[in-house]
Amino acid sequence: MAIFMTTRMTAHLALTLTKSSLWHRRRILLLVTLTLTLSVSLLLGIQYVRSEIRQSFTNTISNTDLIIGARSGQLNLLLYSVFHIGDATNNLSWQSYQALKDDERLSWLIPISLGDSYNGHRMVATTSAMFEHFRYGRSQPLTLQRGQWFNDLFEVVLGADVARAFNHSVGDQLIMGHGGGSVSFARHDSTPFTVTGVLDTTGTPVDQAVYISLDSMEAMHVGWESGVGIPGRTLTLEQAKQRNFIPSNITAAFAGVERKVLTFRIQRDINTYGKEPLTAILPGVALSELWRLLGQFEKALLGITGFVVVVCLISLATVLLTLQAQRSAEIAILRATGASAGLIASLYLLESLAIALLACVLALALGAAGIAAVSPWLQANYGVLLTLRPLNPDEWILLAAVPVAALVIGLMPALSAWRRGRRPGWQVLDDV
């Protein structure tokens, strides 16, 4: 009972002493904590963003067995067709597309035609096959939050973010820009589009695009043969409705294969197609190549962050040890007043632990704020959806390693204090 009382008294004393000591040296300790906070948030942030991006990447397209475009590298084709990054060097002729359509081994085809944009958002010309067959994430189809898929000329369906960004809803009239880029110098003023639907959020580049029909694409470009719209030669809706449009080419096509075992066969056939140089890629393979490419970068980043953490831990150790050296007078007093070696050790440990825990909490707050700030920009520019979510086990381990490391560092002076407890001197004033 008495022992219990004294233990409680000692624990209480250790806590109050630590509190006063931390407060007394708060300025220097705050700087140490901030340094540690920055490196912890950097490490944790990179780990977090890495796993989010990986998730986001693999989610962009699913169930598509082949992507077919003009002859190019597989990464290039993947980037412009799926991520809407960069431009196609060449197009796929309508004849080749028809030939693909006639191939009975393919169960479905989604043609896409890129080029124009709406306020910096890619305009994708396609057919209803897109709505029917395109899948993302875990085989999720596209769904509409409002309205319906286009089925006529000059009708447009908006990705969720586009609708949100410009506060558009069904019935709004949109003027498309000619070419890509966020500021178009030439605009298709004479052929306004009507919003017929808004898609649900997918967390993929789909959210950033607007969808029209291939016919609309052709119709809006009548009179634009020279690169600018010549007044009087462009079509009105009524005029356009009188005509039949056949595109001369498209940018790429997504395809589903009837019997999966034939996928490689079909890929080879397309790649060796005699009438036009074509490339067919397997999205999974291309994605993993892209990931590998980014993986190198990612590994380098992780390595750098590891360095940052090591440097920070060393500086933490330096500062803690220096602080402990400053504390030696106080420790001599406490020892002479009857403080046990255990109490002294706990003072050192509590100090390190307090700093580390504070740094972790601050890092979490900073990380959350950072992600909230960066994610709209990331999604707008790269179509990567970064969501705030609870930490996964790996990240918890990473975070938990910080106080553990601080404890180990705190243990160094604590250990020497304990050793000195075994062979102490009269008012020893230095040597940590």
């Binding site: 007394h24 406490l334 046990s340 070696a341 075994r422 008012q427 004033l429």
Partner: protein
């Protein structure tokens, strides 16, 4: 190995067995070596009755601080015996020695006596937080149920008695003069009336006025508590304050 000789200028240094109270301090054939290659420091036998005050003199390096460290149980002697309040402390485990020191010994250093982040008052209260014995002594003395309040009151009384005005009680040590700091340290050593106070040149940084007042206050209050004092100084002018004095001689291996 050379022998440190000592002169105990005491009328009857061998009559320790006579008094009823246990002698507060007895040392016999004590030796200590800081490093195994060095010759041992040897200390004279000492008997100090409860409540007596001993002046410990000696040249620099003669081992005065070392002796205090041994008495406080911060170091263990290589040979010989130390009995404090009749109890041999040589055989005690480190934690038991810490306990004993917390309960029965007050310490005053030459400088850096106070925990920098605690107020003067909190510094004085410290021994009661480390030792239930010293805390209980105060609460039983005042006979109140509120131990905390009793301890605070006692600390304030002690500080005031050592002429630290009320408004300085809540100051940090950095805002106190050296003389004030030393008196706060004295108050801490006296807190909870330990049986023995060990003071290592606590007046060396004080001017003669301050020094005399410090000596007077410390010894007066020790007298009231019947606390024995072992006081180290190389200032012979202080000797007259004490019942006994003893001089440690410089080991010859140092003087050569």
């Amino acid at each position: 190995m050379t022998k440190t000789t000592a002169t105990m200028i005491t009328p009857d240094s061998d009559s320790a067995s006579a008094p009823l109270a246990l002698p507060s301090l007895q040392i016999r054939e004590l030796t200590f070596r800081w490093q195994s290659r060095q010759p041992a420091l040897t200390f004279p036998d000492i008997n100090l009755d409860a409540g007596d005050h001993l002046f410990l003199r000696g040249a620099s390096g003669s081992g005065k601080s070392t002796l205090l460290g041994l008495l406080a149980g911060l170091n263990t002697a290589d040979n010989g015996d130390i009995r404090l309040l009749g109890k041999s402390i040589r055989g005690l485990a480190p934690s038991a020695r810490d306990r004993f020191r917390a309960d029965h010994i007050g310490v005053i250093f030459q400088q850096f006596n106070l925990v920098p982040y605690l107020t003067a008052l909190a510094n004085v209260i410290l021994p009661c937080q480390l030792s239930p014995v010293r805390r209980d002594r105060i609460s039983s003395e005042t006979r109140t149920s509120d131990t905390r309040a009793a301890i605070h009151a006692k600390a304030k009384t002690l500080l005031s008695a050592l002429s630290i005005p009320q408004e300085l009680h809540s100051r940090k040590p950095a805002q106190l003069s050296i003389g004030q700091q030393q008196r706060v340290a004295a108050a801490r050593a006296l807190m909870g009336a330990p049986e023995l106070i060990l003071a290592d040149e606590p007046t060396s940084a004080l001017d003669s006025n301050n020094r005399d007042r410090f000596m007077q206050l410390l010894l007066e209050m020790a007298q009231q508590n019947k606390t024995s004092v072992v006081f180290v100084s190389h200032d012979p002018a202080l000797a007259h304050h004490f019942h006994h004095q003893i001089e440690l001689e410089q080991p010859s291996w140092l003087s050569s």
